[in-house]
C-alpha cells in the first residue's frame, strides 16, 4: 500500500504524549473511583437481570439501596455475595429477595470475611467465564462463516421497532452489508439505567436492551449462514451506562460497540470523571469478550470545519488508543474513528481527504479504522449526494480503511429507506471492486499536496497534544480544547453517581480483568 513519508520519531513523540495523557487520567481519576453504573455492571455480570413491577431494573434498585445506606464506597460485590450466602439461592432470586425487602442487605457481619471473599471470587470467576464464552463463541462462528474482506461494509438500521429493524437488517445483508448497527433511540445515552425487554417504540432509533441485542444477533446468525460470511452486530455503549451496556453486549455475543473515551463528556455533557471511570471498565469487558470498539471522532467534524480541525480528530484517536491500551484492548479491537466531511466546494478537497485517511492508516497500521461518510454537506439532491459517497468509497478502498460506514444518498432528508440502503451498497460494492488494489499501485508524491497536508496535520497534532499534556486532559477539557466545548470537572450529568473507593472497596471482576491482561483465542 502506498505510504506517505512520515518522521517516525515524530510519530513516537505524539504516541508518547497520548500515553502520558492517558496514564495521568488513569492514575488520578480512574483508579481511585467507581460509579453506580460500574457497580450495576458487577451485578449484571453476577447474574442479576430483570425489573420490578414498575420497570426499574434490579441492578439499579440494589445499588440505590446500598447508596442510601452510605455503603456504596465499599462496592456492591461483597454485600451481594453476603446476601447470596444468606439466601442460599441464585443471583436472580437473591436480587428479588433484596428488592422485596425479604432479606437483609448491607450487612456482612453474619458471615466471615473469608466466606464472603470466596463467594465473591466464585461469582467473579463465573462472570469472567461468561465473557470468555462470548469471545470463544464468536470465534467459533467465524470459523464456520469467516469474516469478509476489509473495508467491512457497515450499515445502519433505525426504525425504532426491533422487529422491523430485523427485516431491514436482513435486507441490508442481502444487499452486501457486513456489519449491522442498530441506532439507539435519541435520548438513551442520558438514561441512568438500561431499559429492559424487546422494544417496539423508539425515537430516531431503537432502545439498546439485552433482549433486543439477542433478537438481532439471532437474525444475523441466520443471515450470516445464508451469506457465507460472518455479519457483525454493533450497538452503542456511550452515555451513562457504558459498562452495563458492554456487559449486556458481551452476554449476547455482540461484536462491536461505539465506545469513546470523551464523546459523552463533550457531546452529551456527561461528567468527566463518570465517563473516564465508566469507559475503563466497559473497555476491560470489551477486551475480554473481544468486542471491537468504535470511537466517535467524526463528531468533531459535524460541528467544526474538517480542515481546520483535522488535528482534533488525530489527537482524539491517539488518546482513545492510549486509553484503550490501558484497558487492555488490542490494536485489532480499536476501530478509531474519522470522517470524510470536507466542504465539497473546497478545491482539491479530495486530496485532503486522502491525506487525512492515509495519515490515520499509517499512525494505526493494525487498527480497523472506522471511516464515516460525508453527512454535513450532503445535498437534498440525492443524485449529487450519491456522487459524494462515490468519492468517499474511493478514498476508503484506496487507503485501506477497516470499517466503512456506508453513506446514504438521502442523508440530508430522512433516516434510510430500504431502497436507500440498496443504492448505497451498490455504489460501495462497485467502487470497492473496481478500485480494489488501487492503493497498491499508486505512490504519494513526496512534497505533493497529499504528503504536505498529512504532515501539517501531524505537526498540529503534536503541538496540540503537547499543550494538553502540559495542563492535563481534565483541565484541557475544562478550557475547551476539544471541539471548542468547555466541560468543568464538577459539571455534567452523572457526577452524583461517582464515588471514591474506600480502602475496603472490592470489585474482583475488575481486579481479575486487569491482572489477567489481554486474552486471545
Amino acid at each position: 500500500m502506498a505510504q506517505i513519508k512520515l518522521d517516525q520519531e515524530q510519530v513516537k513523540r505524539v504516541k508518547n504524549y497520548a500515553k502520558d495523557i492517558a496514564d495521568s487520567v488513569q492514575k488520578n481519576v480512574i483508579d481511585g473511583n467507581s460509579s453506580v453504573s460500574v457497580e450495576r455492571t458487577v451485578l449484571r455480570l453476577y447474574g442479576v437481570d430483570g425489573t420490578d413491577e414498575e420497570g426499574t431494573p434490579y441492578p439499579n434498585l440494589i445499588v440505590d439501596k446500598l447508596k442510601e445506606k452510605d455503603l456504596l464506597s465499599k462496592g456492591v460485590s461483597k454485600f451481594f455475595a453476603a446476601s447470596m450466602l444468606a439466601s442460599k439461592r441464585d443471583a436472580m432470586d437473591t436480587a428479588e429477595l433484596i428488592c422485596q425487602g425479604n432479606i437483609l442487605f448491607g450487612e456482612i457481619n453474619e458471615f466471615s470475611r473469608a466466606d464472603i471473599e470466596s463467594k465473591e471470587i466464585e461469582l467473579s470467576k463465573e462472570a469472567l467465564k461468561t465473557l470468555d464464552s462470548s469471545r470463544i463463541h464468536k470465534s467459533k462462528k467465524q470459523e464456520k462463516t469467516p469474516l469478509p474482506e476489509q473495508p467491512f461494509k457497515y450499515m445502519i438500521v433505525a426504525t425504532g421497532n426491533i422487529y422491523e429493524d430485523r427485516t431491514q437488517a436482513k435486507a441490508a445483508v442481502s444487499s452486501g452489508a457486513d456489519i449491522i448497527a442498530v441506532i439507539r433511540s435519541t435520548a438513551q445515552s442520558l438514561l441512568d439505567y438500561v431499559p429492559y425487554g424487546a422494544t417496539t417504540e423508539g425515537f430516531g432509533g431503537t432502545f439498546a436492551t439485552q433482549e433486543n441485542f439477542k433478537i438481532m444477533r439471532k437474525a444475523l446468525d441466520e443471515a450470516s449462514k445464508k451469506k457465507g460470511t460472518y455479519v457483525r452486530l454493533v450497538n452503542y455503549a456511550s452515555g451513562l451506562c457504558m459498562s452495563e451496556i458492554a456487559a449486556c453486549a458481551a452476554i449476547e455475543d455482540l461484536d462491536m460497540l461505539l465506545n469513546d473515551s470523551m464523546y459523552g463528556i463533550l457531546f452529551r455533557d456527561i461528567n468527566k470523571k463518570r465517563t473516564f471511570v465508566d469507559q475503563h471498565f466497559s473497555r476491560l469487558i470489551c477486551s475480554r469478550a473481544k468486542i471491537l470498539i468504535n470511537t466517535g471522532e467524526d463528531n468533531y467534524l459535524t460541528t467544526s470545519d474538517a480542515i481546520e480541525n483535522a488535528y482534533t480528530v488525530t489527537s482524539s484517536q491517539l488518546i482513545n488508543e492510549a486509553m484503550g491500551k490501558n484497558s487492555l484492548l488490542t490494536d485489532e479491537q480499536l476501530g478509531l474513528g474519522h470522517a470524510f466531511e470536507i466542504d465539497p466546494k473546497v478545491k482539491n478537497g479530495f486530496l485532503f481527504e486522502l491525506a487525512h485517511a492515509q495519515l490515520a492508516r499509517q499512525l494505526f497500521p493494525d487498527a480497523p479504522l472506522k471511516y464515516m461518510p460525508p453527512t454535513k454537506y450532503k445535498s437534498c439532491d440525492i443524485f449529487f449526494s450519491q456522487c459524494m459517497d462515490s468519492m468517499f468509497n474511493l478514498a476508503s478502498v484506496t487507503t485501506g480503511q477497516g470499517i466503512h460506514l456506508c453513506g446514504i444518498l438521502t442523508e440530508a432528508i430522512h433516516t434510510p429507506l430500504m431502497q436507500d440502503r440498496f443504492q448505497s451498497l451498490s455504489n460501495v460494492n462497485y467502487i470497492f471492486d473496481t478500485a480494489r488494489d488501487l492503493g497498491d499501485e499508486i505512490e504519494f508524491k513526496e512534497d505533493g499536496v497529499i504528503a504536505k497536508r498529512a504532515q501539517t496535520v501531524l505537526n498540529e497534532t503534536e503541538e496540540f497534544l503537547k499543550k494538553v499534556n502540559d495542563i492535563g486532559l481534565m483541565e484541557a477539557i475544562s478550557e475547551g480544547y476539544f471541539a471548542g466545548i468547555k466541560r468543568l470537572d464538577t459539571g455534567g450529568k452523572g457526577l452524583d453517581g461517582v464515588f471514591l473507593k474506600d480502602s475496603d472497596y472490592s470489585n474482583p471482576i475488575l481486579e481479575m480483568l486487569e491482572k489477567e491482561g489481554t486474552i486471545n483465542g
Binding site: T167, A171, Q419
Partner: protein, 242 residues
Amino acid sequence: MGNLIKPYGDTIDDGIVQLSFTLPVTNGAKAKKAAEIYANNLKIEDVTIAHAEEIAEGFTYFVIFGKASVSIDYDSVKASEVSTEFYDYYEINSLIKEKINRKVNVVGASIGTDAHTVGIDAIMNMKGYDGDYGLERYPEINATNLGSQVTCEELVESALKNGSDAILVSQTVTQKDAHIRNFTELIELLEAEKIRKQFLVIAGGPRITNDLAIELGYDAGFGAGTVPSQVASYIVTCLVKE
C-alpha cells in the same frame, strides 16, 4: 383558462417524470406489470419500467419513466416567501442605529429534544454561514444563543429577561412530526401567557417553509440555505415598521 403546466422532459408539455419506489413483491413479469399499473393509477401514462431489481427477499425496487397526464394552472398557485427587502450587514447596523435607536435583542434556541445546533449556530454565532456574518457579530444586535434541547419555558423566560424583540426557534428532527409538536407548544405557551404579540417569533430549519411557519402561528419561517443577514433584514424591517 389560466396557465396550464406539466413536467418538462425535452419537449414542452411532454409530462415526463422519473420515479423510484419499492413494492413488497418478488421480482418478475407480474411485479413489473404491477409497477406499471401502479404508475398508471398515479396518472402516469406510457410507463417504461427502466429498472426492476429485487433488493431484499420479497421486495422489488423500480426506476420508472412515464408521462404525467395531470396539468395544473400555475396562475392559481399561491406560496409565500418572507417578504422583505434584504439588506447587508452594514446596512442593517446603520438602519438599527438610525431608525430604531437602541440595540435589538434576539434570543434563539433549538427546542424540545432536538440536539441539532448547527442550524441555529449558523444564524447566530459570530462566524455565520456561507460567508455571511452571524447575528452575534452585529454591533447593533444583542444575540443570545441558548443552544439545543432547550425547553419552551426556558426560552420564553430568557426572552422576557432579555427584553427580546425576536425569538428564533430551530427544529431539525421532523420524524413523527416532532417539529410540529414543538413549534406548536411554544406558540401555545406564549399565547397562554398572553405575550405572543410582544415578540417576533421566527421558525427555521431544513424542512421549514414560510407557509408552514405562518400556519403554525409564527411571524415567518426560513428554510435550508438561509443566511443570517436575511433573518436580520426581516427583523429590522418589522421593527422599523412598528
